[in-house]
């Protein structure tokens, strides 16, 4: 599950900055994000609305329309090739392989008037020239645990969970090394969600595929991923192993988020929460974007800090002045301050 930390990453993003046009104004959706995903690894990307997590993920497949968005800084390297400046036709050639993606709402990505089998076959033909397409479609359906008869069905005849399985089969048709799953179960019921997540875990194991799971649901990411990136307002603000980030979080935002996600009441019957509002990507904040909501904000927070490694932990780093000034902190400390 951990992947080989020394192997060449499938995806390496460094200092990425992406802005897009909205109503004539440039909005920076991703301000500074770095990310590395190694073969076979399950990585989680956590963030709330406006954190830039989907824009970041879509940039790994060149899915942000170039007419309305642009990469201002940083680089994206996929399987050793720098794709930062790729144009639409170059993306067309590599899309789906080595990186494929599934989405929250599978129905939007399926052709409503084409049978499921043909849609999977198209993906197979694009990536496996000369393959026995029928056999491969049947194999893919078996992989995602759908009966072969589904090949003759239309998308609207399937349940939400089945559609998501079809989308996974289409993605697997490209034999990806990395599958990006952007809120893959948000539209599904909890029991269906559990089935899809179990399927994804099994497929990763069997095919040796890496996964980038993007979600606002910390429980989901925590139960499926070994390494975690936390994004807030366009910045990756903390990353490390699941055990470090989710059990010994360092950034005040990550701590608050974890406490909020538990939906627990404190001693006076109040729900634990983070004050203030999730920042709108269009407003420009000087320094750390979490400062207005942060219980431990200091004067230094007027500038954005660099990453600080947490002592005695492997590859757990955080962008926070408070943590940098107080290297050994306990969860209780910030808890008490809030």
């Amino acid at each position: 599950m951990n992947g080989d930390q020394r192997a060449t990453p499938i995806v390496k993003v460094e200092g990425l900055r992406i802005s897009y046009l909205r109503g004539g104004n440039a909005v920076t959706a991703v301000k500074e994000a770095s990310l590395a995903i190694r073969p076979g690894e399950a990585v989680g990307l956590v963030g709330e609305s406006g954190s830039g997590k989907s824009t970041l993920a879509r940039s790994l497949l060149g899915l942000n329309p170039q007419s309305r968005s642009q990469i201002d800084a940083g680089s994206i390297v996929i399987a050793g090739t720098d794709v930062t400046r790729y144009g639409p036709s170059q993306w067309e050639k590599i899309r789906g392989r080595p990186v494929a993606m599934i989405f929250q709402d599978p129905l939007t990505y399926l052709n409503p008037v084409m049978r499921i089998g043909r849609q999977i076959a198209e993906s197979v033909r694009r990536h496996d020239r000369g393959a026995d397409v029928r056999a491969r479609v049947a194999e893919l359906l078996r992989l995602v645990k759908l009966p072969e008869a589904i090949a003759r069905a239309y998308p609207h005849e399937l349940s939400g969970g089945m559609r998501q399985r079809v989308l996974i089969a289409i993605a697997l048709g490209c034999r990806p090394k990395l599958l990006i799953a952007d809120e893959p179960t948000t539209a599904l019921d909890v029991t269906t969600q559990a089935e899809i997540m179990a399927l994804l875990a099994e497929l990763r194991e069997r095919l040796g595929m890496a996964m980038l799971l993007i979600s606002h649901d910390l429980g989901l990411v925590g139960s499926a991923c070994s390494r975690i990136y936390v994004m807030y307002a366009g910045y990756v603000i903390e990353n490390g192993s699941n055990g470090d980030v989710f059990i010994r979080p360092a950034h005040p935002y990550t701590k608050g988020l974890l406490l909020s996600a538990e939906v627990k009441r404190n001693a006076d019957g109040r729900f634990v929460t983070i004050g203030g509002d999730v920042p709108n990507p269009a407003t420009i904040v000087e320094g750390c974007p979490f400062r207005p909501r942060c219980p431990v904000a200091m004067d230094e927070c007027g500038t954005m800090p660099a990453f600080t490694p947490i002592p005695n932990r492997a590859a757990h780093e955080v962008r926070c002045w408070y943590v940098e000034r107080h290297p050994v902190i306990q969860a209780e400390e910030i808890h008490a301050a809030s």
Binding site: E48, Q193, A194, G256, L257
Partner: protein, 260 residues
Amino acid sequence: MPQAEVPLLELRGVVKTFRNAAGTPVHAVKDISLTVGRGEIIALVGESGSGKSTLGRIALGLIRPDKGEIRLNGRPLTELSPQAFRDARIAMQPIFQDATASLNPRRTVRELMRQAFGRSGRGSDAGIAALLDSVGLRPGSEYLPRLPHELSGGQRQRLAIARALAIEPQLIIADEPLSGADVSIRGQVLNLLLDIKDARNVAYLMITHDIAVARAFADRVLVMMQGEIVEEGPSGEVLSNPRHDYTRRLIAAVPVLARA
């Protein structure tokens, strides 16, 4: 019967069957009875297709049941004239999942709130601003000229809550009020709902798929599956010690962080 024993809302033997596009009947609600007491917090938990939203809409009088009775403060709503029904129903107000869709995009905050205050005559700018203040839109007067799309998601949900409060309802029926909200905002919304309950003694019927929310927020939990209530009881008991197999499966399916 003494007045104190009349429940705020009572559904008796409610049945609703829809027909889908193919004409096959879909039994959304099969003979359900439930009561909501004054100031009580009830969570109606279930998955999509369980009929929980249909039941909420029946309670609000937005869908007419095929069979059964709805009593509000002991008065059977189904037997009232249209005008008397509209007047009685305002004691129940909805909060919807999608705050954006629940606000007319062409109306300013002032217009939306004036509309909510309606004939009560309290829809002055000062009255509106005071109510907005109380739901955490501070200072309320600054929000008056804004349009819904100029607010953040959290602010829109607060506005929808303020609107529901304008005519001082006794019961708020909230259909997935948190699923559109960011994780870090959810606690704020729940705290606001608790404050409102403390200040005005409103009751809540919260329709949710989120077991953690039901457990922490509600006094009593009803678990709904395929149009039927399969388990019912105090929230702590039902969700820590579920008796029905479906409730157990629901709880087991929720992904949990392995927290030390």
